[in-house]
Amino acid sequence: MEKMKNIYFDYQATTPVDPRVLDKMMPYFAEIYGNPHSRNHSYGWEAEQGVEVAREHVAKIIGANPKEIIFTSGATESNNLAIKGVAEFYGDKKNHIITCVTEHKCVLESCRNLSGKGFDVTYLPVQSDGLINLDELEKVITDKTLLVSIMGVHNEIGVIQPLEKIGEICRKNDVFFHTDCAQAIGKIPLDVDKMNIDLMSISGHKIYAPKGIGALYIRRKPRVRISSMISGGGQERGMRSGTLSPALCVGLGEACRIYSDEMENEHKTLSKLKKMMLQGIRKSCPDVYLNGSEDNRVPGNLNLSFAYVEGESLMMGIKNLAVSSGSACTSASLEPSYVLKALGVEEELAHTSLRIGFGRFTTENEVQYATEMIVNEVKRLRELSPLWEMAQEGVDISKIKWSHH
């Protein structure tokens, strides 16, 4: 196959802005530039109109009322605001928070921050498929439990948590349920009422809207209160002060609108692409493991361990494919991913992991090309690997006394 230029396989890190989204945004920079909070003239009203239509689109995709949506700078802010905001508002009544060890750093760090302020935090483990155990969740809930925060779709391993069942447990026990759905919007059907979700974090740049915009859903019936983090003019119902960027809000709204129409089709296409790559790799390479549940995962994510081949060297070999490494050997710390560790993936296997992300603009040709390239490079590097050699000779690698350094 002829050499292709760089190909993007990192849709869980971020997505390009969909041209249709950009089209909707453009007028809001230099034409409709009013402050959406200006109440006295048409400049303000027009900008506000754009923001409110966007809010409706965001609400619609999760079955919410537009009044329950506030715009933020992204999912990190939304997660902070949801967790710390609820904690601050209700903290004198209940002080126990439940989350999970594989949550995004911004959730874990928000919880850590609160545990320094008198909150008890329970970090639920995950099963080897990456999902939490519902019985365990139910067991750790006490009459002091204020909030459960569990993400919808995992950024690293793509697994889908059983939101509806978690919501049911939370509602039954009178506990607020927050879910980080940055990776879930447009990937799985979401309905805040059916799933008993009280707070939901949404990100723009994971769904083909720009970076720097997100939203937080906050339930009104029964009402969930939060303390705001930012002091100011009281915009967004007093929960998030600061002038909104109509262009960014419109972008997020349009991205949600597109998904409302196209989610099902996109799901089909991505499923096909994923199957193509997974089968292609498995057919030619033994000892390749999929991390996280194979059934309960979004089709746009493959997190694979290529036993006996170190992840960063593999990334170097497929350098025109933009993928992400689970082995973290590329970052300053040489620790493998905390998420894979939590699944019980052995460290030596965690060092061989790659995250390959597909999305709206991935083509069949690209997947074919990438599959071939990955297979060839894994074969080449295994020929270089003393561990592969030992495995072929029948040596049990776990029995060797290695010199840890």
Binding site: Y308, V309, E310, E312, S313, M316, G317, S327, C329, T330, A332, L334, P336, E346, E347, E348, H351, E383, L384, S385, P386, L387, W388, E389, I397, W402, S403, H404, H405
Partner: protein, 127 residues
């Protein structure tokens, strides 16, 4: 992070990949590192009667820097006697490949590997 031309060349076209008979009296084998740490190097030397390293082979599980470091050191030790090979410093490897600071441990591993191979050879050939 941008790697040097030397490093990329050793990664893309590694020299002296392979294995020797580790039972042979003439062969010294060094196996260092650990899979759980993300790198394992196997380095082998064949030594002639004059105590000169005739040939060297390696296999490495590890990042590009680890592969390049082991490829480079196998090139360097060929034709050297055991004392000369033993005195190669990891800093020379790191400088030659322009390893970034976070990858210095790869050059240390290569130094450890050649020393381990020499020790193994000497142990076998204790007179």
């Amino acid at each position: 992070m941008a790697y040097s031309k030397e490093l990329l060349d050793h990664y893309e076209n590694p020299k002296n990949v392979g294995s020797m008979d580790k039972q042979s009296e003439k062969v010294g084998t060094g196996l260092v590192g650990a899979p759980a740490c993300g790198d394992v190097m196997k380095l082998q030397i064949r030594v002639n009667e004059k105590g000169v390293i005739e040939d060297a082979k390696f296999k490495t599980f590890g990042c590009g820097s680890a592969i390049a470091s082991s490829s480079l050191i196998t090139e360097w030790v060929k034709g050297k006697n055991l004392d000369e090979a033993h005195s190669i410093k990891n800093t020379e490897i790191a400088n030659h490949l322009a390893l970034p600071p976070v990858k210095i441990h790869c050059s240390i591993l290569a130094e450890d590997a050649i020393k381990a191979a020499i020790d193994d050879y000497k142990k076998k050939n204790k007179k």
